[in-house]
């Protein structure tokens, strides 16, 4: 080969030009493929509705089959929930039609970012949700730009719970001859910590039995918000644009978590555990698990030992003040993306999953409470523990409250900030005052960043 010939034909400019052309061709081909859509969407005469949820635990194949049987012209495309994939889909301008959201904490942020369709009219005219069938918890999906629970409605919960109630393992209580918690009178946080210390077993520096799991990695933020609500105060300013962890009440709440960690009774940054209670509770290693009603359906009911008989109990959430508050910190549900092209079909699926037959199928194993009154009769109560859990929930419903979270920062980000700021306090490296100040600064920075995006 004549190398000079090749060089003369392959100038730098032509190399770059042809390479760019190749990339553009490849990208163009990708776009064309995207435009073709998924195989399901090309099914003649049928419309595909995409929905992003956790498969099985939040939407089972049986529910999908039931929906498609009732709506033969709609095909459901279930996309497993994945935040990275969701970001990529938004970046590409093609998010799922219906998207999972933790309503209590994250819905206002979603609405404020302009991501959700106003569904007020559809809710008002719905035979499933209307006429008082939708429970008050559905109001966490309302946001008027300033306050949650008011204004237009953007979605509904698939299921919900009073998330900070207490499941307890009777076997471990019996081993220590400790009476069970009351199903009607809530403990204080201090009483709960004292009880957890009694139930904890330490051998050779190892935690053999954990007294308490507060679900700190998921609900630390919610705990603090609820603790302050029980004292009649709030973590945030009235417009939710500033947080203050240095108030006496907020510092008292943080101090409780510092005491919890230093007592070494369960999962905290000082005693990190490999599981979140899903394994240790059924294995009789965890005495008290702070979780909502859903824990019964997901963890207890499938267990061959705990799921039969009367080996567990359910008690009200602990209290930190004089106002009896048992709040909703999750209420996971669906919103409709503003880019949704088949809103009528997507609405049918949302209605089915959040309030219709799908919801009834979903809650039948105790995986959460339904968002509509008509499906309450589907909750399980055949086992004694199931009946007791249902009774405990009913006892607490009068104290249900929608907790106030800022729309400008995500729960995950705030829990990260709490972990980074308060762990050194737990380790006695800095004072609580310093930790609370650091936390306030971190969270307010997150809020200001969120505000800069939302505008």
């Amino acid at each position: 080969m004549d190398i000079t010939t090749l060089q003369s034909n392959m100038t730098r400019r032509s190399f770059l030009g042809k390479s760019t052309l190749a990339v553009a061709t490849a990208l163009g081909a990708g776009s064309l493929l995207d435009a073709c859509g998924s195989p399901a969407s090309s099914t003649p005469g049928k419309t595909t509705v995409s929905i992003m949820l956790f498969p099985t635990s939040e939407l089972s194949q049986a529910e999908i089959n039931a929906f498609e049987a009732a709506n033969p012209n709609i095909v459901v495309n279930l996309i497993p929930y994945d935040t990275t994939k969701l970001s990529a889909m938004y970046a590409a301008g093609s998010p799922p039609d219906l998207v999972r959201v933790t309503g209590a904490t994250d819905l206002p942020g979603i609405v404020a970012r302009g991501l959700a369709v106003d569904l007020t009219e559809r809710f008002n005219s719905s035979s499933v949700f209307n006429n008082g069938n939708l429970l008050p918890v559905g109001d966490v999906y309302r946001w008027d730009g300033k306050a949650q629970g008011q204004g237009p409605r953007y979605g509904a919960p698939i299921d919900w719970s009073l998330d900070l109630m207490l499941w307890y393992n009777k076997t471990l209580f019996d081993q220590r001859n400790i009476p069970y918690p009351s199903a009607t009178t809530p403990m204080t946080y201090d009483e709960l910590l004292t009880l957890a210390k009694k139930l904890t077993v330490v051998e050779g520096g190892k935690l053999k039995t954990l007294g308490l799991n507060t679900f700190i990695g998921t609900f630390w933020y919610a705990h603090v918000v609820q603790m302050l609500a029980q004292r009649g105060t709030s973590l945030f300013s009235s417009d939710l644009s500033k947080a203050d962890f240095t108030t006496p009440d907020a510092m008292a709440a943080l101090q409780w978590f510092v005491d919890l960690a230093q007592a070494h009774v369960g999962d905290t940054p000082l005693d990190p555990q490999a599981d979140w209670g899903n394994n240790s509770f059924p294995a009789n290693r965890l005495a008290i698990m702070c979780a909502g009603y859903w824990f019964g359906g997901h963890i207890i009911q499938p267990d061959p030992v705990l799921g039969v008989g009367d080996k567990v109990g359910f008690a009200p959430a602990p209290q930190f003040g004089t106002s009896h508050v048992d709040g909703v910190a999750g209420a996971t549900g669906l919103y409709m993306a503003t880019q949704c092209k088949h809103q009528d079909e997507a609405w049918k699926l949302l209605e089915f999953v959040c309030g219709g037959k799908g919801s009834a199928m979903h809650v039948a194993d105790g995986s959460g409470l339904p968002s509509v009154k008509s499906n309450f009769s589907d909750l399980p109560s055949t086992q004694p523990w199931q009946a007791q859990a249902l009774q405990a929930v009913n006892n607490e419903l009068p104290y249900e409250s929608v907790l106030k979270f800022t729309p400008y920062a995500t729960t995950g980000a705030i829990i990260n900030a709490m972990e980074q700021s308060i762990t050194p306090v737990m380790q006695k490296k800095i004072s609580l005052q310093q930790g609370a100040e650091n936390l306030t600064n971190s969270v307010n920075l997150l809020i200001s960043q969120g505000q800069s995006v939302i505008g």
Partner: protein
């Protein structure tokens, strides 16, 4: 192929005949016409891969780092270098960089030294030596995440086998996966995979000319002298390669620390193994996608500078048998 060469006939091929008989220009024209196409055809898999999977994401990330996009919002705007300025003023960035450099300073020389020692031990013709080489190399082929999860189980304070073993000697349980031990656990996991460094050093040692070592021994050089005066200089280019790739991997360390951390939301305890990768991951978790992109570009520039320094410093201690351009 003798039967193709008939008596009196030239053994040249038809193409060579054309060249010899003056048909060169015609065939050269044909070759000229298709030469660059041929080049692009054969190079296109790499070119496309580089442009689509390396250059495009890098430029995309660079542009992203100049915005305030949070990964979801339909509303975003250009904010210039604000993310970079925020990163520089964020104390967690410096904590992460400090931890990462400390990790790199220990992990890279340690891995090279351990790998070299193992390679020297295994560079012998003994019965069953292949079995030993396999045993030491095996951890290097186990996926990083799988090995990290295995180590997390071993190092668990309450149920881990390491604390159970220490218990036989009445040593109380150690919280291996929290401050300050978690950093050492990360190093332990790194050194467990030293087989990859060992195999490169072993290949380098086996490629050494034996006559030089024999000559040194005949001249009365001890084993240590032979190693330091003959072997080490000769495999110094291999060591430079190990140093550069090791530093790049160490500065990017993420999976090991991520899988070792045991908190429920998957993010490591801030004060334990807070390496740069976790810092970036935190930014993603916090929906600060644009900020995370800025952090990644800072990491890229740091790696670039460190690599250039290593290459420059390497010219003082690396011995090349041939003259370099």
């Amino acid at each position: 192929m003798a039967h193709l060469i008939t008596p009196g006939a030239s053994p040249l091929t038809q193409r060579e005949k054309h060249i010899h008989t003056g048909n060169v220009s015609k065939h050269h024209r044909k070759w000229k016409r298709y030469s660059s196409r041929t080049f692009y055809l054969f190079a296109s898999p790499w070119i496309l891969g580089f442009l689509l999977l390396t250059l495009f994401p890098m430029i995309y990330a660079l542009l992203l780092s100049l915005t305030n996009w949070d990964g979801l919002s339909l509303r975003w705007k250009w904010i210039g270098l604000k993310n970079y300025i925020t990163a520089i003023h964020d104390p967690m960035t410096w904590l992460a960089i400090e931890r990462t450099f400390l990790y790199t300073l220990i992990a890279v020389p340690g891995s090279i030294a351990l790998g070299m020692i193992l390679a020297l031990l295994l560079n012998r013709q003994l019965p069953g030596i292949a079995i030993f080489r396999t045993i030491f190399y095996l951890p290097a082929v186990v996926p990083v995440v799988a090995s990290a999860i295995t180590w997390r189980l071993i190092l668990d304070r309450d149920y881990g086998s390491l604390n159970a073993f220490l218990g036989f000697f009445h040593i109380s349980s150690i919280t291996w996966l929290d401050d300050p031990w978690a950093f050492f656990s990360l190093l332990m996991l790194t050194f467990w995979g030293v087989g990859s460094s060992m195999i490169i050093s072993l290949a380098g040692l086996q490629n050494l000319p034996q006559e030089l070592q024999e000559a040194a021994r005949l001249e009365g050089a001890s084993t240590l002298q032979t190693f330091f005066r003959i072997s080490l200089p000769l495999i110094s280019p291999v060591l430079l390669f190990e140093a550069i790739t090791g530093v790049i991997f160490a500065l990017q360390v993420l999976y090991q620390s991520y899988a070792l951390s045991v908190t429920q939301n998957g993010i490591g305890v801030a004060t334990s193994i807070y390496v740069y990768g976790i810092h970036v991951l935190n930014a993603f978790v916090n929906n600060e996608v644009a900020y995370a992109a800025a952090l990644l570009w800072i990491l890229f520039l740091v790696i670039l500078v460190v690599t250039l320094i290593l290459l420059r410093v390497g010219s003082f201690w690396v011995y090349y048998e041939v003259e370099r351009d």
